[in-house]
Structures are given as structure tokens and as C-alpha cells.
């Protein structure tokens, strides 16, 4: 027996949203670094143009953890059809948003986040984040048959190079 329906399987890979950043500025990089290293000084790579220029990157790169979408994105499109039908804390929200029946499980918990990095974000980069439906999987655990679903977001730069791939895991049982 399985909680993964044909419709759920077919939905894997569906793009649910796309967000594009404003160009990353050296000020964004400097202030981000000042905040996350505070009260100590951040590495000069993030603050000093001369040091950044002489580094292997030949210019400013951002800390890996920088969020280029903070404050405002240049554009955002949502491809979710049923946003109005979502209910707070409904474990089936992921499927409702896609217009398919959910597995109807009662409980859910956050299964964590995993991130893979590609090329560094640089001054001037415009980052696009595309969210999509990730794989479903199941496992027998102490809570019974547990359903693992993943939401994927892939960041790419203006050259189409992958910057970051994030998988968020939702556990339902």
C-alpha cells in the first residue's frame, strides 16, 4: 500500500514559481557580510574592492548564504492554481496547490532543508529562483508509513549557471 498516487507522481517536476532578483550590488555583499560577521570585521574579500579584484574570483563574490531576494524581487510569477483553496496547516496543501487530491494524512513535520552550491554569486549577478515539485518517497518508521515530499528551488545566474539547489522536505504520516 502507498500514499503516492499516480497524480502525485505525475506532478513531480511541475514548476510552481519563478522569482528574479535585482542585480546584486557590492553594497548588498558588504552589508550582508557585516551583519553575519558582526561584531568582528568580515573578510576583506567581501568589503575591499582591491582585495576582491586580486582574489581568484577577480571581483566581489557574495557569501554563499546571501539572499539576493531580500526586501524585494524584481519579478515574481506564481504558477499555483488553487492558492485560494489552501488552508493553514492542512497537510494536503502541497497537492491542493497543484489541483490534485492529497494523500489525506493527518500529521506533518518539517523534515529539514538541504542545500547544494554551484557557482558563486558575484556583484552584478541577476539570480532567478525556480521552485518545483520534487520527488515523493515513502519509508516505514516508528510513526507508521511516512511520506516524504520535497519542494525544490534552483537558483541560476544570468548565464544559466546553477548557483544553489535547495530541497525542503515535508514528512507526513
Amino acid at each position: 500500500m502507498s500514499n503516492i498516487s499516480e497524480a502525485m507522481r505525475a506532478a513531480v517536476g511541475t514548476v510552481t514559481g519563478r522569482t528574479t532578483s535585482y542585480p546584486i550590488t557590492n553594497s548588498d555583499i558588504r552589508k550582508w557580510a557585516l551583519a553575519v560577521y558582526w561584531p568582528e570585521q568580515p573578510p576583506a574579500l567581501f568589503t575591499d574592492p582591491a582585495v576582491a579584484e586580486k582574489s581568484i574570483y577577480g571581483g566581489f563574490v557574495a557569501p554563499e548564504d546571501l539572499n539576493p531576494f531580500a526586501w524585494l524581487a524584481a519579478s515574481h510569477e506564481s504558477f499555483i492554481k488553487n492558492a485560494g483553496k489552501l488552508e493553514t496547516n492542512n497537510p494536503d496543501n502541497a497537492e491542493i496547490a497543484l489541483g490534485i487530491p492529497g494523500p489525506g494524512l493527518k500529521f506533518m513535520l518539517n523534515g529539514g532543508l538541504s542545500v547544494e552550491y554551484g557557482v558563486r554569486m558575484r556583484e552584478g549577478d541577476v539570480i532567478t529562483s525556480e521552485s518545483s515539485v520534487g520527488e515523493y518517497s515513502e519509508r516505514k518508521g516508528r510513526l507508521g508509513l511516512m511520506l516524504f515530499s520535497r519542494s525544490i528551488s534552483i537558483w541560476t545566474n544570468q548565464n544559466g549557471e546553477m548557483v544553489k539547489r535547495t530541497a525542503g522536505i515535508l514528512i507526513r504520516y
Binding site: 553575519v36 558582526w38 548564504d65 539572499n67 531580500a70 547544494e116
Partner: protein
């Protein structure tokens, strides 16, 4: 630098409170009541306002970035936020090498507070700088 299983990464430590959190809120536009207001944090069951998970995430990156050197790369990280970072805690980011394959190193990483209680455990992979 030769890296071996069991090697301990130099830690990254910060005493945390509104001075750090407000700065992070400012750059990340993360003005959430539970991080700014003791009453909201209390209502959420944390005894007061508490720090952003994202800031611990950043501290883990700071630790690794300094260890791998300028030509190194952080390849991946995953963590779970198990326990809140409340005011006055001294947060330390830790890493221990669990596997080495060429220049790619896998680590167990975590943040803990001054009593040694882990707040955010996880794993990371890095490519060591030349």
C-alpha cells in the same frame, strides 16, 4: 592542508541577542515578531524573542569559509533547527570531518550554546582550497 577524519574545524562564536539579530533582519528583511518582540517569542513558546535559524546557518558558513581558504568551496549543507537561540546565549559553530575523498571533505556540523546543547545539527561538504 592535509585533512583527516576526525579533524576539528576552528569554531566560530558569537554572543547573540538583538544586536546580531537586528543586523541580520536589516540585511535579510526578516522582521518577524518572534525575532523582535519578547512577548511574541513567549507566545510561540520560547520564553522570549529568539534568533533566526538563518543566522545560525550563516555562522556555520562563516566557520567553513574561513577553514577551507579562499580557493575552497562550500558544496552543500543541510541542518535541522532543533532548539531556539534565545537572548544572551553564546552560539558556537562547530565542524568535525567525517569523510575525505580527494579534496572533497564531508563534515558533521552543528551550532551549540554555552552549555553544549546542540541547536542546529547537520552535515556539509566542502572542497578544500589549494
Amino acid at each position: 592542508m592535509t585533512v583527516n577524519i576526525g579533524d576539528v574545524v576552528p569554531t566560530f562564536t558569537r554572543e547573540t541577542g538583538f544586536a546580531n539579530w537586528n543586523r541580520y533582519a536589516a540585511v535579510n528583511d526578516e522582521f518577524v515578531p518572534i525575532h523582535m518582540d519578547d512577548a511574541a517569542g513567549e507566545a510561540a513558546g520560547n520564553g522570549g524573542a529568539f534568533g533566526m535559524g538563518n543566522l545560525q546557518w550563516a555562522y556555520l558558513h562563516n566557520m567553513l569559509r574561513s577553514w577551507i581558504g579562499e580557493t575552497g568551496e562550500i558544496l552543500s549543507m543541510e541542518v535541522q533547527f532543533r532548539s531556539p537561540n534565545v537572548k544572551g546565549q553564546t552560539i558556537t559553530a562547530h565542524g568535525v570531518v567525517t569523510a575525505v575523498e580527494g579534496d572533497v571533505v564531508t563534515l558533521e556540523v552543528w551550532t551549540d550554546q554555552q552549555d553544549g546543547i546542540k541547536l542546529a545539527p547537520g552535515t556539509a561538504t566542502v572542497r578544500m582550497g589549494k
